[in-house]
């Protein structure tokens, strides 16, 4: 087990270093001079040179990268070009809101995805399976931001069931969370269906059935517990989906989270903020994947052997 954990940790660290390199290199693709961006278009050449020197932009690339890494490890994500505040401060102010929204989206994913996946697996190749599977493909194809607008127009504006946007409690969270969770729900439907079908095909289930265990008990007591485990390992991919979605959904619902911050910094070409959100999201995905891998190995020790 320890060897497995060490191996996984090594892999995660390599990926994290890779992520930092990619985000570092992308900032060099920015047309224009970062020093100029900070001091504004009217500053003299001398001032620009001074800022460049202060930022270490006149040093060789690898030195700049090492400096960047050093700052990252001290929790310094740089300063916003826009208002000179530390990027971390800006993100921290909004992180709670985004976490709430993502959690809400996750609940919606599971609340729809798991029952639909179960229906598909239990009624495999029957009408209800076809209907549910089509709904899943439909959910995959839905442009989330458009769904959000339709919900705002029909459910919030016309029916007045929920607020149109903003924050302020559970009621404000319902529509954005549903919008965010629909795509993931389709994703879980497929996962649960596939893994339940696999479990249903195994000997111990056949034995349980042959021994006359009632179908309900076979499904939930015997099969479901094993069928759900593979779905858990996709948590990293799921987080990735949720964090990509929030940029659009926070924009549509006027929701003050990190996604809206990313959107605003895109419009101002505030590179440190843009890259910090991308970097943090990726780090989050890697950490989640690592934790899930370890948990999975504890639940199912056969994993460590492969």
């Amino acid at each position: 087990m320890l060897a497995y954990i060490v191996r996984r940790l090594g892999g995660a660290i390599v990926v994290l270093i890779g992520i930092s390199m990619v985000t570092f290199l992308i900032t060099f693709a920015v047309p224009g001079d970062p020093a100029r961006m900070i001091v504004g278009p009217h500053a003299s050449m001398q001032v620009v040179e001074q800022v460049r020197h202060n930022l270490g932009l006149d040093k060789p690339l690898y030195i700049q990268y090492l400096n960047y890494m050093g700052r990252l490890l001290h929790g310094n994500l740089g300063y916003s070009y826009n208002d000179n505040l530390p990027v971390w401060t800006l993100i921290r102010q909004r992180m709670g809101n985004t976490a709430q929204l993502a959690f809400g989206g996750w609940i919606v994913e599971l609340a729809i995805g798991i029952p639909f996946g179960l229906i598909s697996a239990l009624r495999h190749q029957k009408l209800s399976d076809y209907v549910v599977s089509f709904l899943a493909t439909f959910g995959f194809s839905l442009p989330a931001f458009w769904l959000g607008m339709e919900l705002i127009y029909n459910v919030a504006y016309k029916l007045h069931w929920f607020p149109i946007g903003g924050t302020g409690g559970i009621r404000h969270l319902v529509l954005p969370a549903v919008t965010l969770g629909i795509v993931g729900a389709a994703f879980y439907q497929r996962l649960i269906k596939a893994s339940m079908l696999e479990v249903f095909d195994q000997d111990y289930i056949r034995t349980a059935r042959a021994n006359g265990v009632p179908p309900f008990r076979v499904t939930f007591h015997h099969a479901f517990r094993n069928g759900i485990i593979p779905a858990v390992t996709y948590a990293g991919m799921d987080i990735s989906l949720l964090l990509g979605g929030v940029v659009l959904i926070e924009q549509v619902f006027n929701y003050p989270g990190v996604g809206e911050l990313a959107y605003m910094s895109i419009n101002n070409l505030d590179v440190p903020v843009i890259m910090a959100t991308v970097l943090l999201a990726a780090v989050f995905v890697v950490v989640a994947n690592f934790v899930v891998d370890i948990l999975y190995a504890f639940i199912d020790p056969r994993i460590t052997l492969s």
Binding site: G11, V14, V15, G18, I19, V22, I26, T27, A29, V30, P31, F134, T137, F138, F140, S141, L142, P143, F145, W146, M149, E150, I152, Y153, Y157, A194, G236, I239, S240, L241, L243, G244, G245, V247, L248, Q251, V252, A262, Y263, I266, N267, L269, V271, I274, M275, T277, V278, A281, A282, V285, V286, N289
Partner: protein, 304 residues
């Protein structure tokens, strides 16, 4: 009447019996077995026709601002005889803009998918075939790319590269290959062990020959399936970027920027969000159904 004997005497029996079927019967059977492939294929075909013949099909110039395109209050008009799907806040014809929007969506969707295809197949084949440290380096790189939330990563890259249609499909294509590379690698690892590939190696065939003649034809099915599905995803991402203002730039129409324009006036002009939104949904659904159907037909084992 004299020609009658030329027809098969027992034509009814032929159709009912177990004899080889005609082409149309085989097609019918295929349609019944894989309906989603045909429904998706039909939607995709319609979209291609609309995109290619947009100048012929569109009733108006999509950029023209009609003097009579707004009401006295300066608000967009609802559906009418002249403007079948209404007008937008600039007094332009929504139907014509949606038709031209299909062009951009298809262009970005297909070009980006082709870029991902080339990068994904090359890296996947090299990684799977050569193995060892090459495999390790490529797969680690793939892990790194997959760790980034795709949409967020594309948004950041396009914002930094400057918004334009070309940058949108380059960004989507250059960042979207990782899944493909992984799948192809897995396939190559399997195919590599087949006897005919081993035999080709044993008689000293070159790596290039084995890859192109023996391995690539055998990994074609997942390549086709994933590229089709990718086109749908890419269309969705293009519209998201245009919605955020970093994709297709106004006044040029894209379903995404039409939705953005519609968001501000949706209480008064709901058709502004229904029309481009439904077009987008239908297009993505078409590619997803086609891709899923192709997967069931070509290779039931893959990706299930």
């Amino acid at each position: 009447m004299s020609q009658l004997p030329l027809q098969p005497a027992n034509s009814a029996a032929v159709a009912a019996g177990p004899r080889p079927r005609t082409r149309s019967q085989r097609l019918w059977k295929l349609m019944r077995s894989y309906p989603s492939m045909f429904i998706g294929g039909f939607i995709v075909l319609v979209m291609i026709v609309v995109a290619v013949f947009a100048p012929v099909l569109a009733p108006h110039d999509p950029l023209h601002q009609f003097d009579n395109g707004l009401n006295q209050m300066g608000m967009p008009l609802g559906p009418s005889h002249q403007f079948l799907l209404g007008t937008d806040p600039e007094g332009r014809d929504v139907l014509s803009r949606v038709i031209f929007g299909a062009r951009v969506s298809l262009e970005v969707g297909v070009f980006a998918a082709l870029i991902s295809l080339v990068i994904g197949v090359v890296l996947g084949v090299v990684s799977g075939y050569f193995g060892g440290w090459v495999d390790m380096v490529i797969m680690r790189f793939t892990d790194i790319i997959l760790a980034f939330p795709f949409l967020l990563f594309v948004i950041a890259l396009v914002a930094i590269l400057q918004p334009s249609v070309a940058n949108v499909y380059i960004a989507i294509g250059v960042l979207g290959w990782a899944q493909m590379a992984r799948i192809i690698r897995g396939q190559v690892l399997q195919v590599k062990e087949f006897e005919y590939v081993q035999a080709a190696r044993a008689i000293g065939a070159r790596a290039g020959f084995i890859i192109f003649k023996e391995i690539l034809p055998n990994v074609l099915a997942p390549v086709i399936v994933f590229t089709t599905l990718n086109v749908g995803t890419n269309i969705l991402i293009e519209s998201s970027l245009s919605f955020l203002g970093i994709g297709v730039q106004p006044p040029h129409p894209s379903w995404g920027n039409m939705l953005q324009e519609g968001m501000t006036v949706m209480q008064l002009a709901p058709w502004m969000i229904y029309v481009p939104g439904l077009s987008l949904l239908l297009a993505v659904l078409g590619f997803n159904l086609l891709g899923d159907g192709l997967r069931d037909w070509l290779d039931p084992r893959v990706g299930k």
